[in-house]
């Protein structure tokens, strides 16, 4: 019996004709993922349990990365999954779970004091709204934006190669600058939170391995009624 041979493993030709049916399927998938994305992003804000809202945030990230994959930006979709869902959201969840949710809920939702964060929140919200308007406007009034860009999109080259070609040639300085900013931020975070605690026992592998019998075992003659003092 041929395991995975040609008899049992049907080979479909790679090019599926884009008939109306496949386009319908594409549309159905698009609207499913976008609906999930929108509903879950609303639920992130609405749900009162913070852990639940982090889970909805994760669902949002996943459906958006599915949308990325659907438009052919497979590299971006995967990176989105790895960075946001695999690392950032885990740390989010980590922090949120450590907090006492019930107590916090009472403090935040039922207290009548502390509206000092309102102006800042309004400003941030306004900026995001403006950005959204700009994005939607750009898409609405310049539908053939992609034709005017200098990047040539060749269907045969995978978009990982394309992104690499653009990122490491034309935008190498910006790329390295953002890397430096991230490095500085990382070092800053470590410096701010690091504190060397004294009075705890630490393990040093080299010290343990390099320990010899001569320096660690000692024969002491104990005098009667005086004992011997160790650990000095």
């Amino acid at each position: 019996m041929a395991i995975g041979g040609k008899i049992f493993w049907p080979l479909i030709s790679e090019q599926i004709n884009h008939t109306d049916n496949t386009m319908i399927a594409h549309t159905i998938f698009f609207y499913t993922f976008s609906l999930i994305a929108i509903i879950s992003s609303i639920l992130v804000i609405v749900s009162k349990n913070t852990v639940h809202s982090v889970f909805f945030l994760i669902l949002d990230f996943i459906s958006i990365s599915c949308l990325f994959i659907m438009i052919g930006a497979e590299f971006l979709g995967m990176i989105m999954l790895i960075v946001y869902v695999g690392a950032v959201a885990v740390l989010f969840l980590f922090v949120v779970m450590m907090l006492n949710v019930a107590q916090q809920k009472n403090q935040w939702f039922e207290s009548r004091v502390g509206y000092s964060h309102m102006p800042l929140g309004l400003i941030v919200g306004l900026v995001i709204l403006l950005e959204l308007i700009i994005v939607v406007g750009g898409w609405k009034y310049k539908p053939n934006l992609i034709l005017t860009s200098s990047i040539s999109i060749d269907q045969k080259v995978t978009n990982t190669h394309l992104i690499g070609n653009v990122l490491y040639t034309d935008y190498i300085h910006l790329f390295q600058l953002s890397g430096m900013i991230l490095l500085v931020a990382m070092i800053g975070a470590i410096v701010l939170t690091f504190r060397k605690r004294s009075g705890i026992k630490r393990q040093s592998y080299t010290k343990q391995i390099s320990r010899e019998r001569i320096e660690s075992v000692e024969l002491v003659e104990v005098k009667t009624n005086e004992g011997v003092k160790i650990d000095d």
Partner: protein
């Protein structure tokens, strides 16, 4: 319309053709694991049910199915039920891109290795959700440990993957295998293979890194409150993940479905069988480690991940890149 239905039918058939053997082999691999473990420690292991005890996993599964599923009163019920389902699903979903031979692959996508990496980094959610939703001390401690552990070892696995990708020049898993026709990457990148193997142990919560379920300290870690089929699903997901890591290791370093050389006795064995043999070889290494090595302490685990593996693998990226650049071996297309 008929053509479209036909495609759906064929895809479903392919998925089932891949999934059912994987599920059966997960059950068999549990038996193999216990047997190897027992042999190392001079015990017999499961040898009663069926010939050589082969049906032991089946008996266990039957037992789990007929046990009652208990959901603790204070648990968050939705998330508590979702957690084992997510673990199991994610463990099975990633098999879609594993190539078993040149044609025997469910979906040959361009970013296969990134897909594998992404799905394996999602695996931590099942554990965190299970630990948190149980609303009890031991599971929560276990899940926090596991989150930190998996996030830190993913970093070194990612950098090891970069090492391999530098030599291949493509993210496609089939092309990664085909690039090893001349020489398996285990030879030039041997230190990376060792680090990958140890990181894979940590990533799948296997001993000596099974701190999330350290029975001496945490009862059973994140699985403490689970029972019946839900516990079995965690268990199956864990072993499916281990098999997946073995498959990933054999694709990245051991030449996937390729025989050692294209010579007479080796080419007789079909390529799928080579892949299965390599996965089994890595799995037996996994279970040997389980039997031999004592459990790490938590700070030692973190130290190993961040202070030893990360600098080592980063240094090896630089070495590989400079070697390839100097001898003009960088893959281009």
């Amino acid at each position: 319309m008929f053509e479209y239905l036909n495609i759906i039918f064929l895809e479903t058939y392919k998925i089932l053709y891949l999934l059912i053997p994987i599920l059966v082999s997960v059950a068999m691999i549990v038996w193999l694991d216990r047997r190897v473990w027992a042999l190392v420690q001079k015990r017999r292991g499961p040898n009663v049910v069926g010939p050589f005890g082969l049906l032991q996993s089946l008996a266990d599964a039957l037992k789990y199915i007929f046990k009652e599923i208990i959901i603790p009163a204070s648990a968050n019920k939705t998330i508590f039920v979702l957690a084992p389902i997510i673990t199991m699903t994610l463990a099975l979903v990633s098999w879609a891109v594993i190539p078993f031979s040149e044609t025997f692959v469910l979906s040959n996508i361009n970013v296969g290795i990134l897909y594998l990496f992404a799905i394996s980094s999602l695996g931590v959610y099942g554990i965190i959700m299970g630990g948190w939703a149980s609303n009890s001390k031991y599971p929560f401690l276990g899940s926090i440990r596991s989150a930190a552990q998996m996030v830190s070892y993913e970093v070194s696995i990612g950098i090891i993957i970069i090492n391999v990708l530098l030599c291949v020049g493509s993210l496609n898993l089939s092309e990664i295998v085909l690039a090893q026709k001349k020489i398996w990457f285990v030879i030039p990148l041997f230190p990376m293979f060792v680090i990958f193997f140890i990181s894979a142990l940590a990533e799948t919560n296997r001993p000596p890194f099974d701190l999330p379920e350290a029975e001496a300290e945490l009862v059973a870690g994140y699985q403490t409150e689970y029972s019946g089929m839900m516990y079995a699903m965690f268990w199956l997901g864990e072993y499916a993940n281990i098999l997946l890591m073995c498959a990933m290791g054999s694709i990245l370093f051991l030449g996937g479905w390729l025989p050692p050389t294209e010579m007479y006795p080796f080419v007789l064995i079909p390529s799928t069988l080579w892949m299965i043999l390599k996965i089994l070889f890595l799995f037996i290494l996994f279970s040997l480690v389980k039997a031999i090595v004592p459990r790490y302490r938590y700070d030692q685990l973190m130290k190993l991940g961040w202070k030893i593996f990360l600098p080592l693998s980063l240094a090896y990226v630089i070495i590989t890149a400079s070697y390839l650049y100097y001898f003009d071996l960088l893959p281009t297309n």
